[in-house]
Symmetry: C2
Subunit: 122 residues, 2 copies
């Protein structure tokens, strides 16, 4: 379960153009990674990619992309698995499902007229 701090961290991570592009393309399989074919399909999904493959799509230095990926990982938006000396990056679908549900609940309850008492801790 994501608490308020988790959610704020997720939105902060997605509230930057570079990270948003990385996020979107990791989820929709936008980054081709030539090394993928040599990896066992059971462990690593087709959408997986690695740090340098992502960096190839941007004009920023590799360490800059590496730090953006760390922020996406810390926000539980992606996962990173080390296999040999490469890191395979995958979307964290569980987190996105939970965020999707938060927004759906928010709009559904709004339309149903549900009104809560004020709570500054959530």
């Amino acid at each position: 379960m994501l608490d308020m701090d988790d959610k704020v961290k997720i939105f902060k991570a997605l509230g930057n153009e570079t990270r948003f592009k990385i996020f979107k393309n990791i989820f929709t399989g936008g980054y081709a990674c030539s090394i993928d074919n040599s990896q066992p399909k059971d462990d690593i999904i087709a959408q997986a990619t690695c740090v340098s493959s992502i960096a190839d799509h941007f004009d920023f230095a590799l360490p800059t992309i590496s730090r953006h990926l760390k922020e996406l990982k810390d926000a539980k938006i992606i996962t990173m698995k080390k296999v040999k000396n490469k890191i395979y990056i995958e979307p964290n679908i569980a987190t996105m499902k939970e965020i999707a549900e938060c927004f759906t609940t928010l709009t559904d309850e709004f339309e149903a007229g549900v009104v809560y008492q004020y709570d500054n801790t959530k």
Copy 2:
């Protein structure tokens, strides 16, 4: 329709603890506003509130809250209607519905195995 810049702006706005609390409570009716009762119900919804009522819930100065509200408004997360010398703040449900749908589509298509070509412009 929200384009990429719109979405990044929305996430940036929600990626700050103070603005996230304001957002959440505006949508769930958390802020009581004593002036609401004297307003016509047709124009202004029950969840509506005003700048100073929101500021009462925080230890920050009023101009600070005002600027946070401006950012939420610029991101189309809330709307602000001026009635006499007060500003009524309401959730922008259309935006939240669209964001909800984005996340739902993202997770649904991921599970269905839909893979797109890389596109750095969206």
